[in-house]
């Protein structure tokens, strides 16, 4: 154990000796969380939204509400035109109201809107704004309606303002038709998705950078020297991996802390999130060992680490959320650790999942970790015979 810790400690010191590592580990990920958060974020002013409705009170109130939210609303005469706007991309989001919705509005009962989300990267965020604003408008209308039964509308409105602190949170009046994307994002705030995706992307990337570091150690002859001491391959592997996983955990904890302080990202249960991160980091460290032993050139290994990290991240939902994937793509994504970790983190973050809820994901991740670590140990032993 002492040997393992000694090796891990040296790995940490080597890592810290290269200051440029700190930029990639600490600064870049947060910058990305910020950029993606803002892109995904609340300021959607000017985004085009196409609406068709019977033109009654409900339509008018909603259109006014969306315009208040600074969306560029176009009212269309037929549902088909709205569909066309969205599919051509001239609107990010389309909204369809029917006569039933108008009736429901008048009666103060929940009504249904059909929201069509476009395919651009902005569209889901615009959908969120459309929904939130519709809910707000509808809630206010219902409340005013209720109060009106006590007197005239102006008084009611004033009373509502006074009582606003006491009024229960908006009940869900707007119902979106079956839309898996919207369901999946339910509970996600502006920076949340981006933060999870960036966390996993960057932890994996920077951990994979252990590969060139290992090649350097092999070239420097220190790996040979380590193995000439009374040290087993398993101990060496455990030491190298531990050093890297500690770095991954520190980086992860830092991104979680900083993003929650700076951008208000919520992470759900911290213990469960860290458990996912730990197993995920083990996979990255194991993969780095495999690359670091198979490849003899530091440059090639760096390229492979960055390229591999980005591709795995992209396929595994760390660039475009998995919810937007087709079924086939989703199946491919399941081959990456990122997909399982993204999925687990999303559940922890948005649905308050506990350790039992993410056991399937953790199991798959653990199996991947064992696979790469065993492979890495075998290759490390074999590599000692290769002069470098």
């Amino acid at each position: 154990m002492r040997v393992v810790l000694a090796i891990a400690w040296v790995e940490l010191r080597r890592f810290l000796a290269d200051r440029s590592n700190l930029f990639f580990v600490l600064i870049l990920p947060l910058a990305m969380v910020a950029v993606i958060g803002w892109q995904f974020g609340s300021d959607r002013s000017g985004s085009p939204v196409s609406v068709h409705g019977p033109g009654g009170a409900a339509t008018e109130a909603l259109v006014a509400g969306w315009e208040d939210a600074e969306l560029a609303v176009t009212v269309r005469t037929t549902p088909e035109l709205v569909q066309e706007d969205v599919s051509r991309g001239s609107a990010e989001v389309g909204v369809l109201l029917d006569a039933e919705a108008e009736t429901a509005w008048r009666d103060g009962i929940p009504m249904e809107l059909e929201i069509i989300t476009g395919s651009s990267s902005q569209a889901p965020a615009v959908t969120q704004v459309v929904r939130a604003q519709a809910e707000a408008v509808a809630t206010e209308a219902t409340q005013v309606g209720l109060l009106e039964t006590f007197g005239d509308a102006t008084e009611a409105r004033a009373a509502l303002e006074d009582a606003s602190a006491l009024v229960p949170p908006a009940q869900l009046l707007v119902q979106q038709p079956e839309d898996p994307v919207a369901v999946a994002f339910e509970g996600a705030e502006q920076f949340d998705n981006g933060a999870v995706a960036q966390l996993l992307l960057f932890v994996f990337l920077s951990t994979l950078n252990a590969a060139p570091a290992l090649i350097k150690a092999r070239r420097d002859g220190v790996v040979r020297r380590t193995m000439a001491a009374p040290v087993t391959t398993a101990q060496a592997m455990a030491g190298l991996t531990t050093g890297r996983v500690v770095i991954a955990l520190v980086q992860g904890a830092y991104i979680m802390l900083a993003s929650s302080l700076l951008f208000g990202v919520r992470w759900g249960s911290l213990g469960v999130a860290v458990a996912v991160l730990l197993v995920f980091g083990l996979i990255a460290a194991g993969a780095a060992m495999v690359i670091g032993v198979l490849v003899d050139s530091e440059g090639a290994a760096s390229g492979l680490a960055v390229g591999g990290g980005l591709v795995l991240g992209a396929v595994g939902g760390s660039m475009v959320p998995l919810e937007f994937y087709s079924d086939t793509l989703r199946q491919v994504a399941q081959l990456t650790p990122h997909a399982w970790a993204n999925d687990a983190m999303a559940q922890i973050q948005r649905q308050g999942a506990g350790i039992a809820d993410v056991l399937p994901q953790l199991g798959v991740l653990a199996a991947m970790a064992v696979g790469v670590l065993v492979l890495g140990s075998l290759l490390l032993r074999r590599s000692l015979a290769r002069a470098m």
Partner: protein, 315 residues
């Protein structure tokens, strides 16, 4: 009979079709320094890798201080200090951190570790450079740190693989002196080199290795006797060296001739140089050689190697 510190029997190792080490046997007793002298590619490092448990032999056995490396590698490695041919230090870390780390791998710790680190820093003269990153060191200082790491845990057997390659003369001398001091303290040393002066100066016994085989073994004097007391004559100059080589080879006293590639040098093993030298010079100039220098020397390991293999140690 004393237990040998190192007992190697019939080591063999191939890489693909090439047999790189071909039946090497060695024995080193406590306090003995044994040299492996051979040119680049002779199989020295491969032999050492197998002795140090880094490379599995195809055949043969390694026993260190009575412990079989194949059967109990961890126990055998405890008795071993390795100074690899290529520097094996962390350039990012200081001399002290390097030493502490490798000491921990040997199971040392606490005050004991700190005391030994200070001692070996003193031995290799790096005490005042203990804290800076070792990548700022000169080549010689790095080599000294490399050796210090091998000494740290006071192994019974110290293996040095060409520890002076690429080192300035001053550092080289310091290294040789510290090796001499160690064997004086009873440590067994296996020292590989392709410099015959180092082997002559340091080693109680020398194995001459070529093509993966130990082709002769003994004390310096025993080895030199193999040449039959022949001297070495070296001609330095320009001219049609191929023709000169053929011409001098015809002189009866000249037993071996060898051209050193790339230099205007002919090295020959000569029976009775003092009598033959004038004939050699006359023949060489007669064949068109412009002489710049003539060296004669009493037999040394260089001439032994030439005698045994027909090749120069360094070319």
């Amino acid at each position: 009979m004393t237990t040998p510190v190192l007992q190697v029997e019939g080591l063999r190792r191939s890489f693909g079709p090439a047999t790189v080490v071909d039946g090497v046997s060695l024995r080193i007793d406590p306090g003995e320094t044994v040299g492996l002298l051979g040119p680049n590619g002779a199989g020295k490092t491969t032999t050492i890798s197998m002795i140090a448990g880094l490379l599995r032999p195809d055949d043969g056995s390694v026993v260190i201080q009575g412990v079989d490396m194949g059967a109990e590698p961890l126990a055998a490695k405890r008795h071993l200090g390795l100074v690899p041919q290529d520097l094996a230090i962390y350039p990012e870390l200081s001399a002290r951190s390097n030493l502490s780390f490798f000491g921990r791998l040997q199971g040392m710790r606490g005050a004991d570790l700190r005391r030994r680190v200070a001692e070996v820093l003193e031995v290799v003269g790096l005490t005042d450079r203990a804290t800076g990153a070792s990548k700022t060191f000169s080549g010689g200082m790095k080599r000294r740190l490399n050796i210090a790491i091998g000494l740290l845990h006071e192994p019974r057997l110290l293996i040095l693989d060409e520890p002076t390659v690429g080192v300035d003369p001053q550092s080289r001398n310091a290294i040789l002196e510290s090796v001499e001091a160690l064997s004086g303290e009873g440590m067994a040393v296996l020292y590989t080199t392709h410099y015959m002066e180092e082997a002559e100066r340091l080693c109680d016994r020398i194995g001459i290795i070529d093509g993966g085989q130990i082709i002769a073994e003994g004390t310096r004097d025993e080895l030199v006797e193999l040449t039959g007391g022949a001297d070495t004559v070296t001609l330095v100059g320009e001219g049609p060296l191929d023709e000169v080589e053929a011409a001098v080879a015809g002189i009866p006293a000249v037993r071996e001739v060898r051209r050193v590639a790339g230099e205007g040098r002919l090295v020959m093993v000569v029976q009775g140089a003092p009598q033959a030298i004038s004939a050699i010079v006359a023949t060489a100039t007669g064949a068109g050689m412009t002489l710049r220098d003539v060296e004669t020397s009493r037999p040394d390991l260089e001439s032994v190697f030439l005698h045994l293999t027909g090749k120069a140690l360094r070319d």
